[in-house]
Subunit: 492 residues, 2 copies
Amino acid sequence: MSYSLLEKQLKEIADLQYASAVLNWDQETYMHIKSNASRSRQIATLATLAHQKACSSELKKSIDTALQEDLNEEQKANVLIALKDYNKAVLLPEDFVNRLSIQTSKTYHSWVAARKQNEVSIFLPDLSEMIALKKEQASFFEAVHPYDALLDEYEPGATIAQLDPLFSSLKQQLTPLLQAIQNANTVDNQVLRQFYDKQQQWDFSIDVLQHIGYDFDAGRQDYAEHPFTTSFSAQDVRITTRVDEHDFSNLLWSSIHEAGHALYEQGIRDDMYGMPIGSACSLSIHESQSRIWENNIGRGKLFWKCWYPKLQQQVSGFKTTSLEQFYAAINKVAPSLIRTEADELTYHFHVMIRYEIEKGLIDGSIQVKDIKQVWNEYYQNYLGIHAQDDRDGVLQDIHWSHGSFGYFPTYTLGSLYAAQFYAFAKQAIPDLERNLELGHTKEFLKWLRTSIHAFGRRYTSDELCKLVTGTSLDTKYFFEYANKKYKEIYKF
Amino acid sequence: MSYSLLEKQLKEIADLQYASAVLNWDQETYMHIKSNASRSRQIATLATLAHQKACSSELKKSIDTALQEDLNEEQKANVLIALKDYNKAVLLPEDFVNRLSIQTSKTYHSWVAARKQNEVSIFLPDLSEMIALKKEQASFFEAVHPYDALLDEYEPGATIAQLDPLFSSLKQQLTPLLQAIQNANTVDNQVLRQFYDKQQQWDFSIDVLQHIGYDFDAGRQDYAEHPFTTSFSAQDVRITTRVDEHDFSNLLWSSIHEAGHALYEQGIRDDMYGMPIGSACSLSIHESQSRIWENNIGRGKLFWKCWYPKLQQQVSGFKTTSLEQFYAAINKVAPSLIRTEADELTYHFHVMIRYEIEKGLIDGSIQVKDIKQVWNEYYQNYLGIHAQDDRDGVLQDIHWSHGSFGYFPTYTLGSLYAAQFYAFAKQAIPDLERNLELGHTKEFLKWLRTSIHAFGRRYTSDELCKLVTGTSLDTKYFFEYANKKYKEIYKF
C-alpha cells in the first residue's frame, strides 16, 4: 500500500529532523565552544539529507498513488498536507538549503560575538548575507510581497495584507489602554528585584511544572542562555530556562512559557510520529499554548491564590509581601527595552517594531547599515525609550541570526489566540476558575489536549480557531481580558 | 578532483555517524525512559543512511578515480583504506543493517530488564536472535572461522589462529605469577571501602583529568551507568564515569581510563575529520591508550608520589593511610566476579572466559540456553569463584546486548600494547619517570600524540606497533612490567 510507504518515508524525514534537533539542543545546553564548527556541519548535513528526501521523486510518487487509495479521513488529511509540503520543498534548490544552513551558523556566531563586544558592526556583514539569502528564498515562491513568502514558513497563509490591519487595530486599542494605565496608580515591583536563591527558584519551577502536567518522564528542564522548547517525539520534549538571582520574574515564567509549548508537544499523538497530524499546527497556535499558561494562567490571580502561600514557604524573600502586592508586581505595565521581559501589553509594540523592520529589510526600504538607527527610532516612537546598550537594543534577539524572518508576528497572534481560547475554555469547563483557585489545572489541560493538541496539523490555525471558538481570530477577546484585568490592578 | 569529491562523501558519512553518536551519548546520560522507542528508530535511520552512503556506487566511483590521481602519501593512504572499508561495507545488505540496528535496541532493553529482575531468562530470546544475526553477519564475509569475521570489525586482521596461542601463552605466564602473589603477604584494601563524598571524588577526578591534558573546552565528563568515551570530532570528545560513595576505586580510575581514550580522540588530526587518518587505528590501540593512563600511569607509584598528598587534602578519608598502604591497596590482586573492577592481572581471565564463550556461541558448540551454566563453570575453573547473583555473572556486561561479539579480546591486546608502548616511552623520554614523580605528564602525552594519535588509521595495529617499538606485539613487556611491580608490592 502506498500510504504505508509514504508513512515510512515521512517518518525517515522526521528521524533526520529530530536527530538534528537533538544536536541543536546539545549545542545550546551542554556542548563546549570548540565543537562549533563540526557541529554546524553535522547539522547542515542532516538538513540537506532531510531536504533531499522531502523533495524526492519517490516521495511524490507515494503521495500521488496514496491519493488514489481508499483512505480514512485522517490518512487523507496526512496525504494532502504532505503534498502541500512537497510542493513547497521542491521549490527550494538543494544548494540553497545547504548555503542557508552554513550561513545560519555563521550569522549566529557573528551575533554572539557582536553581543559579547556590544558592537553592532560585527553582526552586519553576516546579517546582510542572511537577508540576501532570505530574499533569494522568497523569490522561489509566488507571493504578493516577498515577506509573505517568509511569513508562510512559520504561519501558513499569513500575509502582510492580513497583518497590517491587525497590527494597526491592535495599536489603536492598546494606546488608550496604556494611557489609562499610565494615568492611574503606579505599581511597585521592587519585590521581584531582591535576592532569590537559584536552587530555590529552580525547585519551585519544577514543582509548578509537575503540577500543571509537564511529564518529566518524557522530557527534562535544563539551563540555556535563550530559553526554548524542543521536541524529539511526543515522548521526548525538553525545555530550557534561565535564572537571575536578582530578578525573580526571569526563571519561573520562562519555565511556564516553555512548559506551555511542551504540553502541546507532549499532547501530540505519538501514533502519528512523523506524520502531519503528528506535528504542531503552526507557530501562532504553538505560541497560544505557551502564552495561555504563562499569562492567562501563570500571571492570573486565581493561580496565585493557590501557589503564593507555597512560594512564600519555598522561596525566601516573600514573607512580608501580600498576595495583592505580588500579583500587581508580576503584572506591572511599563515600557521596557527587552522584548522577552516585557509585560503582556507593551509586548506587542516590541513585535510590531520587529515586523515593520523585517518588512523593510526584505523589500529593501530599510538598509542593513541603518538598522541600529532605525531600531532606536522605532523604540523612541512606539515606546518612548532608547537603548543605551545595543545588547538591550538591536542585538537582543536571536531570531535574525537564525534567519528567522517572519517569526515575530506569530508571538502576537499567539497571545490573541490564547485570549480567545481561554474565553471559550471558561464556557466549556464551568468550574474552570474555581478549579484554578484550588490549583487544579488537569481539566484545563484535558480540554487543550482534546480541542487543540490532538489535531496536530490536521487544520490550519484559522480552521482550528473556528472549530474551537466558532469564529476566526478576533482581537476583542484579548481586549476584554486585558481591560478587565488591568482595570482591577490599576484601579482606573 | 575526485579526491575532493571523495573527501566530501566521506565527511558526510562521518557527519551521520557522529550525529548518531550524539544521540547515543544523550541516551546514556540525560534522556528519559519514555523516549527509548523513538530514539532507537532515529539511530537506526542514521545507521541505515550512513551504510547506504558507505556502499554507494558514487563512493566507489570516487575511490576508483582518485586512485588514478596524483596524490601525496597521506591522501593515498586515505583512499586505500576507504577502498577497504567500501569492500567490507558493500558485503552487508541494507536490510541486514536495519534488522541488526533494531535487534540491537531490543536486545539492549531485554538485557536492562533482565538485570533489573536478576533473571537471565528474560535476556535469552533476544540474545538468541542477536547471535543468529551475528552468524548471518559473519556469513557475508570470507573467513576461516565465522568468529574471525566478527573480530575483524573491532580489530582488523585479528583471528582465532592468532589469539588462541596468545591467550594460551598469557595463561601460562599469568598462572605462576598469580600463584606467587597468593603465597605472599596479603594486601589490605579496606581503605578504599570507606565513605567518600561523591562531590569530593568528582572534583578530584576533574583535577586529575585537567592535569593529564584532557581538554574540557573540547569535551566534558558526565555520569552514566556504564562509563564510556564518545567522540563527535576531535574537538568534542566526551567521557562518562560512575561513582560509589563506598568504593573509592570506582570513579577515579574509570575517569582516568576513559580520559585515556579521550586523549587519543582529542589527539586525532582535526584537519582529517571524516577521513581514515582522522579516526582511531583499532580498538586494541584505543584500549592501549586507556590502559596506559589507567594502569601504567594511574596505578603507578610515581604518579601517586605527586598526587597522594593532594588526594589526602581534597578527599576526606585518607589522613591515616600512608602512600605505601594506598599504593598497595589500589593494586591488590585477587580473583573477583566483576570484570570492570578486576585488578590488572586477573582481568585477563575475565577476557579469556568471554573469548571462549563467544567462540562457542558463534560456532554453535555452546547453546544460548546453557550460557549461565557455562559462564559459572568457566569462572569456577579460571578464577575459582562463582556468582551468586547473575548481575555479577553472565548479565554483567553490556557488550552482547549491543551485539559486540569479538570486542572483548581487544581489552587484553590493549593492555599488552600499553606495556610495550610504555617500555619504549621510557627509552624515548629519558626523564619520564622523574617527570611523573613531579606530576608532569606533558612530555608523555606529547610522545603519545606524535607516535600514535596523529597517525589515526594510517597504519594497522601491527604496523603501528612495529613503527613505535620495532617489533610486533610481544607479551614479554607486560610480564616484565607486572613481575617488577607485583614483586615489589607483594615482596616475593
